[in-house]
Amino acid sequence: MGSCDPIFLSCFLIVALPLLSFAVIMIFTWRRHKLSLSISLTCSTIPLILAWSLFYKLHNAVTLAKPIITQVNWLVSDAVIVPFGFLLDPVSLLMLCIVATIAWLIQIYSIGYMEGDPGFARFYADLSLFGMSMLSLVSASGMLQLFISWELVGLASYLLIGFWYEKFSASEAGKKAFVVTRFGDIGFFMGLVFLTFFMKDLNIPGLGIFDINGAALTHKLSEAQVTLCALLIFCGVAGKSAQFPIHVWLPDAMEGPTPVSALLHSATMVAAGIYLITRLFPLFAASATAMSVVLVISTITLLLSSTIGMVAKDIKQVWAYSTVSQLGFMAMGLSAAALGGSTLFAGYYHLTTHAAFKALLFLCAGVFIHHFGTNDFFVMSKDGGRKLMIPMVTVTIGALALAGIFPFAGFFSKEAIMAQLWHLPNKLWVGLGLFGAFLTAYYTFRVIFVMLFPRKDDNPVWKEYYVREPGGHGHGAHDDDHDGHNGNHGVPWVMAFPLIVLAAFACVLGFMQTGLEKFLLGESHPHEMNYLLLVLAVGSALSGIGLAWLDWGSPAAKWQGFIRKVPVLENFFIQKWYMDHFWRWFLNTVIYGTFSRIFTYNDRRVVDGGVDAVAFSTIGSGRLLSFLQTAFVQLNLLFMVLVLAGVGLYLLMGR
């Protein structure tokens, strides 16, 4: 593989340029905001162009079975080979384009959002690092490279979530994200170790990735081995993609600047987990047990986060929980496909569409937050949120896509996942999926209706809902200087432009289903339309919207969620299913109370005790032996002579 190979060169530039930008900004130009901005934008525009040109050039040439691999073997030890390099196949190509595009749009958007922030240059450096690690993760040809990028993604998200580190809650949230995802990464790493142990190869094609039915795996590994590895790797996926027990970091990650949330929730951090499942799809598919576990966990995730989303008052929290639920939805689609012997298309397709409309939703939320200096969408509503035309229209488009309404992107991808769930013998799953879609539509349109139809200023509901926190939640520093620069429709064009592009994506991606399927799988399966399912899915989404209209939208609505009728449940949801309490309890009793105590005891008694024993015995024996030092030289000499004489006598007589 010569360095002149254009494909290798473009892959290398895609990954290396953002890294270069990070380094240059951090070392040289961090004082000069404009210069840093132009460096960072250049280093994200070129990868964008390169990624799309690679896509254009290769979209007919590569298939899942025949990827283009350019790699070097970094470490060869007996049968174990650890390669570093680039792997291009439909899955990674498409993801490269998504990541490059969204990262670029968010860099554009941040020009407006982060304007005047003292950490402007640092923000762009971190964004570059984030982009670099995700691009490298996507194009990794070896599992070790993937894991390193995976950890880099975690590092970058830590830096960005805790970007306003002077704020205690932000630095805490960054730490939480880092530690919680690391908790899952332990499992991922152990899974990799076991895989290496069983397979003696850390090459992704070596894992039988391109053998869709997993035959290559099963003849090398036993069922139990595959299950073990798949479940351990899923631990890492659960951490990154915020699946049920360790999803708690994601809502807290809202402490970061809103563009970061958009990036985190669409194309990078959380997408990495789902991407890993699609990357290793044959491995996962080879173990029905593992996939059943994934199915159960993702279903719990879907329901948990949708119900919490129903009661949140912070617009970013609502979108965050909707991300968690949509990730659960993707994992459901992938596991159902694996169990039903189908393909990875449905889940991956939802990942694609979700990247577009969730980035859109967050960026819209960012515009509102930037404008009103609060995260509470009730406050935005009262302060006239609907007067911001562009974000209001685009947020509605995003919400329609999220709820799964024809003809927006979410409709098609959700339909594809529903079809996978429908094929499972147990109809419970499709029922729960439909229920999740219903809840999604409900909480999404709760936000939209509240923002679109604010009550009159003297309406008593404001007593409950209009609570302005001093300083606002995210962006307090910006409160005062707003009115100056929002003359043109209230939104600077650098912030409006990404919204429009993403809204366009959310509108058209749905109609690319056949094309994407053909590109990803090499062939498009003819769709037999399942009208019953179609009616059910659209019906659940529409009934969710309808209920939201009754509760929040219509002029007669009392602005009380239907869940208010069951206070126990409402409280349960407001307390986020007590998951944070659970982890607090878990930390206090299991980690601190049990493990820490045992280890402390071990440290105090066994380790310290052992060292002390050695020291004391040395001192003691020294003291004992010091009695021999009588300070009476001639006595010592006498003993010496006697012993020598004894030895001499023995030598002379003894023989």
């Binding site: 032996l625 030092q629 009588t630 300070a631 001639q634 000499l637 006498l638």
Partner: protein
């Protein structure tokens, strides 16, 4: 004289010298006396070497060379020992070995 032609004569002489020296080293308390006794022991060893050389060695020079070495070493040893004794005296105002008790355990 007949006795001087026997190896044993010299060995007995050396033994007596050695015993006197050993007694002096072990029993005397004055550092000077101990030093003199050490010299006696060294001389006893020298006599042994000379005697064995005279009666048993195939080559006549071997024992004499070693005796010459012992004399040189003894001279050096006497110089060093005397300087040590002076140092001890400066510190303790005494050359009695029983007063040197600083290293008692």
């Amino acid at each position: 004289m007949l006795v001087f032609n026997h190896l044993e004569t010299y060995l007995y002489l050396a033994l007596v010298l050695f015993a006197i020296g050993l007694y002096g080293v072990l029993a005397r308390r004055s550092l000077i006396a101990i030093l003199i006794s050490v010299e006696l022991i060294l001389n006893a060893a020298s006599i042994n070497f000379m005697a064995f050389n005279r009666f048993l060695a195939p080559h006549p020079a071997v024992g004499q060379v070693i005796t010459l070495f012992i004399m040189a070493v003894a001279a050096a040893e006497a110089a060093i020992a005397l300087s040590i004794i002076v140092a001890v005296y400066r510190k303790l105002k005494s050359i009695n070995i029983e007063h040197a008790t600083e290293l008692r355990g």
